[in-house]
């Protein structure tokens, strides 16, 4: 290999090194990071949150913005229950069921009244919030942690809404309903234990 090629390769390798994290996350940054990653590290959370945004977009106005507004606030209520130490049985089952039900709603193109949709979404929000809330007392910075997971949840909703906007086209409607089917199937797989998160 010629010298200039070697130099460029060595230079590129030097650029590709990552930062050396000698200390584990702590303080505000550590709290925010762990909170932000908490919903993203679980496929059960991801598919359910995307399903909320997807269903909202599928239902159209006003659900497209009511659901992402209602969900965090009810989730906070569930989180508060988790913080108090009160035990809710079957939390993981509830989370998996949220994916099954919300995915099925999209797949079957169910369009209930807005208040029914809000109640369904709100019920499942309690389980998701509880799962995040039990981790809150151990967080490096609870405020940053709660900000982190609330923002991550909201961004997942946004991703679902963005995909759900495809319904304005006939092929998009098929794609969205197919996505709902996939979410529901993934929820079933989680429920019966075929997949673990």
């Amino acid at each position: 290999m010629r010298i200039e090629h070697k130099t460029v390769v060595v230079g590129a390798l030097a650029l590709s090194t990552g930062a050396a994290f000698a200390h584990e996350g702590s303080g505000v940054a550590g709290g925010f990071t762990s909170g932000f990653l908490h919903p993203i590290n679980g496929w059960d959370h991801i598919i359910a949150m995307v399903a909320v945004g997807l269903w909202g977009a599928f239902l159209g106005r006003p659900a497209i913005w009511v659901l992402p507004i209602v969900f965090p606030m009810v989730m906070a209520f569930g989180g508060a229950i988790g913080v108090t130490g009160f035990h809710i049985p079957g939390v993981e089952t509830g989370i998996a069921l949220s994916a099954v039900v919300l995915g099925a709603m999209i797949a079957l193109a169910v369009r209930p009244p807005i208040w029914v949709a809000a109640v369904i979404v709100g019920s499942f929000a309690i389980f998701h919030g509880y799962a995040h809330g039990v981790e809150l007392p151990q967080a490096a910075d609870p405020i940053a942690y709660s900000l982190g997971f609330v923002i991550a949840t909201g961004l997942l909703h946004l991703a679902g809404i963005a995909f759900g906007l495809l319904v304005r086209w006939p092929a998009g409607k098929v794609a969205v309903r197919a996505c709902g089917t996939a979410i529901s199937a993934a929820g079933v797989a989680l429920l019966i234990g075929w997949v673990h998160v």
């Binding site: 200039e4 507004i69 989180g79 913080v83 609870p142 405020i143 940053a144 900000l147």
Partner: protein
Amino acid sequence: MSRRSAALLISLLMFSIDASAHGSSKSLGSFFGGFVHPLLEPAHLIALLALSLCLGQRGLASSGMSVPAFITGIVPGLVAAGFGWRPDTDVVLLGVATLAGVSVASAAPIPRSVLAAGCAVAGASIGLGSSPDLVTGGALWATLFGTGLGAIAWLSNGAALVQVAKRPWVKILVRVAGSWATASSVLVLALWIVGTHPVSKPDQVTNFIDLRR
């Protein structure tokens, strides 16, 4: 330039590190450190965010004396902090953020007097909670001055930005942000009420608000 020289030069450039062109000036550093401090304290940030959204959604003109009330609160708060009074004000700020966040999320305006009172309380709380540790003398007052200007600037400019946003999807985003502020605040307040959060210890709770009694 030959290809060999160019390759060597590029590789050398890749190994360069940051060039710090300015030396540190304690006063300048303290002032700007104070200016951004409200954005670096989570409780201060959430409260300022929620209040900015609330004022912007309602309109600065219709918010009455809210911004002047904030200034009226933060100035004595900063002065008191400068003279050593440093109570833990995070819980108060989270309470204000919750109230403002609910108003924004539901698009239900709070009465002007309540909003002004909330801004005054938030201002005082931010002021009292902004004193840096291990800093004294001119640097301390420069920091506090920067904090005051910064908090007022972030609040008023944030509200103005929200106010000028006319597109429907931006208005919805504002309401979503309000729900986020509410959710975050409620969770930490729950932690405080249960008594597992070290933010607020009994002897540091601000006298006029003591939810544990």
